[in-house]
């Protein structure tokens, strides 16, 4: 699925690897194709419109569910953004139906009578224990309300915006290297530190071992996204 410019996230990972001399290969997994959970270091699920999402949901369950579980078990990074986040959970409601998800995380998404949750958003996250909290800034646009199971931890705390359900004060989900978030589309171009965290985690190396890059524009873009969210 690719509706909210998911390409920006992939481009970000690809270029930043290439500039550091790291070999990066992007493989698309199309409808009907099985997914080998041992063949890749990072799995990305993007957003989609309702019709696309239904097709993807059926396909994920039929052909990719097993592969994604294998990937998560071996510590590969699985990143679900927007619709991809909803599909990672145990179930979600589309129209009048409740559809089972991939079930990598105990997360349920329901439809709500209220308005879509739309706008700039900023959240505070602590990806590694003991490290200072960092800010993720982006844009959310979702009709569904996502509820975490009792044992599930959110990705972060909402500083500005709506988050998972508009009132819990939490955004996204994080279990090991499985991450789901409503911060859609070009999340990484606005949060270059997360791009590097994902690269390092996928490669199982310390983030400090990544060669530094000139991120002057990226840092300015992050400031711009924070400012847009009112931070």
């Amino acid at each position: 699925m690719n509706i909210y410019a998911d390409r920006g996230n992939l481009l970000m990972l690809e270029r930043r690897c290439a500039w550091r001399g790291l070999d990066f290969k992007l493989t698309a997994s199309g409808l009907g194709e099985p997914l080998d959970g041992t063949a890749h270091d990072l799995f990305y699920l993007g957003g989609g419109q309702d019709r696309d999402q239904r097709l993807c949901a059926e396909d994920l369950l039929a052909h990719k569910r097993e592969g994604l579980h294998i990937a998560a078990r071996r510590g590969a990074v699985v990143l679900g953004v927007c619709g991809g986040y909803q599909l990672l959970g145990s179930s979600y409601v589309l129209g009048s139906e409740e559809i089972p998800g991939v079930g990598l995380v105990d997360v349920r998404t329901v439809r709500h009578e209220g308005p879509r949750l739309i706008g700039n958003v900023a959240i505070e996250v602590e990806l590694d224990p003991g490290t200072p909290a960092r800010v993720l800034a982006g844009f959310e646009n979702h009709g569904g309300r996502t509820h975490l199971g009792a044992d599930e931890r959110p990705l972060g705390r909402v500083l500005r915006g709506h988050g998972n359900d508009g009132h819990s004060g939490f955004e996204g989900v994080r279990r090991g290297n499985v991450i789901g978030t409503y911060l859609h589309g070009p999340l990484l171009p606005k949060n270059v530190w997360l791009a590097d965290w994902l690269i390092a985690t996928a490669l199982r190396i310390d983030i400090a071992a990544l060669a530094p890059l000139d991120d002057a524009f990226e840092d300015l873009a992050h400031v711009g996204a924070r400012r847009a969210a009112g931070l």
Partner: protein
């Protein structure tokens, strides 16, 4: 419906003028007041038009398609009431009608020509009761404002299925599966002949694959992915559904032998059931061929003869910000509006046809009229400009994100400067051409602004005496 009373019109006019004097509101202020004073005002005023109304809606190309249509109809001697300034929601259309209204039920103009915002189509069709409705395309635009693409298609289908649209002539783009499918409801009915399709027939234009911004890849009827036999622009092209058999309807108004001449012009052969003719446009790009073709189809539906259609299309100059050229401090600056990925891709594709190096002023705003979400720039193929840009100045409220986009598109970061302030950015962009004695002839300078950025740029140029006012 009772006619609005003259005092109501006068009151709305003077209050509107007052609020404009105080710097509040734009062209739609008097119309919004009028609607508050008399909610039936649009219908009542439109009812005075002796030749009725036509409406044009699309994600991309509304203003230019309306400009082409205006060129044709005026050439035919029809006087128009036309929301030329692009104020295309109810308030703007009410203002346009208010401006044209005279005393005792009079109105200056025979036919209403209205470009209508996608979201407002149903509301305005029910008030304007148009005799013809032209629907051009549905691309992903400002999702934060409108919800998703398919919900707009559903709204449109509902509008067309209800009175008074059921009585209107429909002009639909055969090449957009979501738009063409809206004619299905009339298939097999006695109104079937009232649907006119237009489309491009030129295999040489077909793109290798779906562009990144492509939408509507799945059949509206059965959900299966479409098979595209040719793609011309975004998801516009020749398609069929392998599952339910839905096909692109055969258009009766077509463009063939299209020749794109960089950022300056385009040519094509216009085929209609009554004959064919060569058309030379003063506007560039395949997207403007689509706009001209749409206007030709609408004019054909209004029984305008072919030679008049051709003359009107050829006499149409760019609408403001749509490939318009101005001179700034002795340097020629061409302004190309970009507001969503498909539109931006066509501008970039057109720009890439120009030989040599370019200078660029990119202005990315995230105001409400631009869409607060700037994600779309990541779906625009700025990669087409890699290796082709000498200097880039990024401006606007989200200038830095545009700089990041260009950097990851393969443009040398050393050539990029971030200057959020538009006035300073314009100075920088213009000056970077004349500096350095070794560069006697600076490369052409292009501005790619989002919607509100285009309005600001325009205002800036007017205040510096570099461009005539768009509102004059």
């Amino acid at each position: 419906m009772k006619a609005p009373l003259a005092p109501t019109l006068a009151l709305a006019r003077s209050l509107g003028a007052l609020s404009r004097l105080r710097g509040g509101g734009g062209t739609s202020a008097p119309g919004k007041l009028l609607m508050r004073l008399d909610p039936g005002a649009i219908g009542a005023l439109a009812g005075r038009l002796t030749r009725g109304s036509v409406v044009i809606s699309a994600t991309n190309g509304k203003t230019t398609t309306a400009a082409f249509t205006s060129g044709i109809l005026r050439h035919h001697g029809i006087s128009l009431v036309h929301n030329r300034a692009g104020a295309n929601m109810a308030g703007g259309i009410a203002s346009t009608l208010l401006d044209a209204a005279g005393p005792r039920g009079a109105i200056r103009g025979e036919l209403g020509l209205f470009e209508v915002d996608e979201y407002w189509l149903g509301d305005l069709v029910s008030q304007l009761r148009p005799r013809a409705i032209l629907l051009g395309n549905l691309f992903r635009d400002q999702l934060d404002r409108y919800g998703e693409l398919e919900s707009i298609a559903e709204r449109w289908a509902g509008t067309l299925d209800a009175d008074p649209a059921r009585e209107a002539r429909l002009v639909l783009n055969a090449d957009d599966p979501m738009v063409a499918d809206l004619g299905r409801a009339r298939e097999g009915t006695q109104r079937e002949a009232e649907v006119l399709y237009y489309g491009v027939e030129d295999d040489s234009l077909a793109l290798a694959g779906m562009a990144h911004a492509a939408d509507a890849k799945h059949c509206r009827r059965c959900g299966a992915p479409y098979v595209f036999d040719a793609i011309y622009l975004g998801h516009l092209g020749h398609y069929h559904c392998p599952s339910c058999g839905q096909r692109r309807p055969a258009p009766s108004i077509t463009a063939a032998d299209v020749a794109l001449e960089g950022v300056r012009s385009a040519r094509f052969t216009l085929h209609t059931p009554t004959g064919r003719a060569d058309v030379q446009l003063a506007l560039p790009g395949l997207y403007n061929v689509y706009n001209a073709l749409a206007a030709a189809a609408l004019a054909y539906a209004l029984d305008i003869p072919l030679p008049t259609i051709v003359a009107g299309l050829q006499a149409t100059a760019p609408a403001f910000g749509r490939a318009e050229s101005v001179t700034v401090a002795g340097r020629s600056l061409r302004i190309l509006l970009v507001k969503n990925p498909t539109g931006a891709n066509e501008v970039l594709r057109t720009l890439a046809l120009e030989p040599g190096q370019h200078d660029l002023l990119g202005v990315l705003n995230d105001n409400i009229a631009d869409g607060r979400d700037v994600s779309w720039i990541w779906d625009a193929d700025f990669e087409l400009l890699a290796g082709r840009l000498r200097r880039v100045t990024c401006a606007g409220t989200r200038a830095a994100e545009l700089a990041v986009r260009l950097k990851y598109a393969g443009i040398d970061p050393a050539a990029i400067e971030v200057q959020p302030d538009l006035a300073m950015a314009l100075d920088t962009a213009v000056a970077s051409g004349s500096s350095g004695p070794e560069e006697s002839d600076p490369p052409p300078l292009y501005a790619l602004p989002t919607y509100t950025a285009m309005l600001s740029l325009r205002q800036l140029l007017v205040s510096r005496g570099e461009a005539r006012s768009a509102w004059s």
